[in-house]
């Protein structure tokens, strides 16, 4: 999976990741995730050491030997080196970006319009993303892991590619700029749009029709619409689900507590596997809540070889196939 074998979509592109005095923890992750995507797509990605230790080496989740799974994920296949003409820069340090020699650069800022200190959690707070998950009366739940840095890094990667395409399609490179808070608000566009179009957005405590439900050996994510109610009643062996009050989405939302009392009681003694088999027969696209280990072992993921061997151990490949092959295997010459 190492970069410079020369057969990835971005082969020949060199990208420099640099953090500096103005970097933040969130920005550090964003820069590294942008570089991760570039590396997986075949670019040569180099990290410029600034003399300071890399704190992500100690960030959770940690592995048995005390090293960081995050650090392994973010840095696999990257190298260290010096800047050459034509390199692109990804940084979250404004001074580093300002000093770069040309417009082949992307700067990731916490926000565009002020200099408030920000973290993943405060970005979620300020974007409305903490008004999505949780229970009334309890502190809201944050998205897991490093989502704000990853999303901003993905946006920065796209800015870099847009700039590069501009240059190779006959134009010039275009300096890119991305703000983590703007990217977070962009994710939340549906709720924003609901508000401005007069349909009050539904935050924590909303009547969510599809709720994670416990079964005998885990949890199920049920999905159903009006036309599915007869099959839902069959799956649950609960004729009461055919009552008029459950016939429409509005009715179901008004009677959510009653409906889920029926569903939970019906699923309590059944296994996830049993439920999913019958749901599939009834064309109900339910899913099981799976842990990462279960996902990795799932027949679909195994068939598509989602877990690949990285330089230091197994890790997820890019979530796509490229003419039927993983991008990483193309670079290393392995079969997909």
């Amino acid at each position: 999976m190492t970069t410079p074998s020369g057969d990835g979509p971005l082969s020949g592109l060199r990208i420099i990741e640099q953090v500096g005095a103005g970097s933040t923890d969130m920005g550090r992750v964003a820069v590294a995730f942008a570089g991760l995507l570039a590396q997986r797509f075949g670019a040569t990605v180099l990290r410029l050491a600034n003399g300071a230790p890399d704190p992500t080496e100690h960030w959770p989740p940690l592995l048995a030997d005390g090293s960081s799974a995050l650090h392994r994920f973010l840095t696999a296949g990257k190298g260290f080196g010096t800047v050459q003409p034509g390199d692109y820069l990804v940084t979250d340090d404004p001074a580093t970006a300002a000093a770069w020699r040309d417009d082949r650069k992307v700067l990731i800022l916490p926000t565009l319009d002020d200099s408030r200190p920000q973290s993943d959690l405060t970005v979620m707070a300020a974007s409305g993303l903490l008004d999505i998950v949780g229970e009334v009366g309890r502190a809201p739940l944050a998205l897991p892991g490093y989502q704000m840095g990853y999303v901003a890094g993905m946006v920065a990667f796209n800015a870099l590619l847009a700039s590069h395409l501009s240059s190779i399609l006959g134009g010039t490179p275009l300096a890119g700029e991305v703000a983590v808070l703007e990217a977070a608000r962009w994710l939340n566009w549906k709720n924003l749009l609901s508000e401005v179009s007069g349909q009050r957005a539904a935050g924590v405590g909303r009547a969510e029709e599809w709720q994670i439900t416990r079964c005998r050996d885990g949890y199920i994510a049920p999905v159903f619409r009006d036309r599915d109610m007869p099959n839902l009643a069959r799956l649950m062996r609960v004729p009461a689900l055919l009552e008029e009050r459950f016939a429409t989405a509005a009715g179901r939302r008004r009677n959510l507590a009653d409906m889920y009392r029926l569903i939970e009681a019906a699923l309590a003694e059944r296994t996830a596997a049993d439920i999913l088999v019958e749901a599939a027969e009834l064309k109900l696209p339910f899913a099981q809540v799976q842990s990462p280990a279960q996902v990795a072992a799932d027949p679909q993921m195994r068939h598509r070889r989602f877990i690949i061997e990285g330089p230091q151990g197994p890790m997820p490949r890019l979530p796509l196939l490229w003419n039927g092959q993983s991008v990483e295997s193309r670079q290393s010459g392995r079969d997909a």
Binding site: G8, L37, G128, N158, R206
Partner: protein, 386 residues
């Protein structure tokens, strides 16, 4: 107005609802010419969502309008042999096709990747599906909530000891990240094509993408060290969600570097001290005082707290279109510019003549004949589902 980076790139957009249509939307924001193609017997189901107002029902949906700005629109019957033939002529003069139909639909329509490649060896086809185009679950349908469940995301989000949680329909997190990721994959394919001359079929699985966004958790899980309580963000000296005097939640992250400043304001860097400090004053005032000490602190807001019905909130989450509607924005800025005001969504089939005449070289008479035959159309032959 859009950014200009992808000027000269033409995208045929068969995308529907969020994933596919929003992917093309990102490419449009960056300057590509995007032609949305719907059929008279199968229009984008998003047109049937939350529709209000007078006029044709298929033109009223705010989320459809928000997602499909900056595009041209043609209505071409891909189920007919003549429509398919015209589509393949368009493929021959285009760079990218984006689709997120159920796996196998493109082949059934007779426009699978091999057929597209025969029409244009340089074409990039981006297929976005739930589970990918191969494997025992390839035909499965999914929703945002089931993707969160089956990817590992829901497992990692819960109260201590509580049941897994999902963002659900309010956000559908997997549907939001896929459009930006897929647009990046398309751009990577265009970079490669520029170098090799070869097109590519991108087979993107949304479930895999959702898992990839917690990729570090997979590494830990495979070594048996996945923690029960998963972190949210980098470690800090103290991170907490606590209520202000007015009951509003405040998110606070005190980094090691900000600890001394925090200590001067709240007395000690502990949850108890922070809780007492915030409980003694309104949330906004407490957050402001903490920020002045260099601490990351924000009141937990809802979308309604910064959505403005009269103009887009600051930043690029929403943009204004040239009909005065707020639509989806674009967080990328290039060369100091953002994507600016968007071109309002095109009514169904508005650009049929452009496609027929300018691109396909048909005469007005030929176009009118195709319109009469129903190969081109300007209104659906289906009724609203609601």
């Amino acid at each position: 107005m859009t950014l200009k980076a992808l000027k000269g790139i033409r995208v045929l957009d068969l995308g529907i609802v969020t994933a596919g249509a929003a992917t093309s939307g990102v490419l449009a924001d960056l300057g590509a010419e995007v032609i949305k193609i719907e059929g008279p017997t199968y229009i984008d189901p998003f047109r049937d969502w939350q529709g209000m107002g007078e006029g044709d029902w298929w033109e009223q949906s705010p989320p459809y309008r928000a997602t499909n700005r900056n595009k041209k629109s043609t209505c071409l019957d891909l189920k007919s042999s003549r429509g398919r033939e015209l589509f393949l002529q368009l493929v021959a003069m285009s760079d990218v096709v984006v689709e997120n139909f159920r796996v196998g639909v493109l082949d059934k329509l007779g426009i699978g990747f091999e057929t597209l490649r025969q029409a244009n060896p340089h074409i990039v086809l981006a297929s976005l599906s739930s589970q990918g185009a191969t494997g025992p679950s390839a035909g499965n349908v999914s929703f945002g909530s089931t993707l969160e469940a089956s990817s590992g995301l829901a497992h990692l989000m819960h109260y201590p000891g509580g049941k897994p949680q999902i963002t659900g329909r309010a956000l559908n997190y997997p549907d939001q990240i896929v459009s930006m990721f897929a647009a990046g994959a398309v751009m990577a394919a265009l970079v490669e094509r520029q170098r090799t001359g070869q097109g590519v079929h991108i087979d993107l699985a949304q479930r895999e993408l959702s898992s990839f966004f917690v990729g570090e958790a997979f590494i830990a899980a495979l070594e048996g060290t996945l923690p029960e309580d998963y972190p949210d963000g980098p470690p800090a000296a103290l991170q907490a969600l606590l209520r202000g005097q007015d009951g509003q939640w405040v998110a606070v992250t005190i980094s090691a570097a900000a600890s001394e400043g925090a200590r001067q304001v709240i007395g000690a860097v502990t949850s108890e001290a922070l809780g007492q400090f915030l409980a003694a004053r309104p949330a906004a005032e407490g957050a402001r005082a903490l920020r002045q000490a260099g601490v990351a602190a924000e009141v937990v807001v809802a979308a309604r707290d910064y959505a403005d019905p009269y103009s887009p909130a600051p930043g690029n989450a929403l943009a204004l279109d040239d009909a005065g509607h707020q639509v989806k924005g674009q967080p990328i800025r290039l060369d100091g510019c953002d994507a600016g005001k968007a071109a309002a969504v095109a009514p169904l089939g508005r650009d049929n003549r452009y496609v027929a005449s300018t691109l396909l070289g048909l005469s007005d008479m030929q176009y009118e004949a195709l319109l009469a035959e129903g190969i081109f159309a300007t209104r659906p032959r289906t009724a609203a589902a609601q």
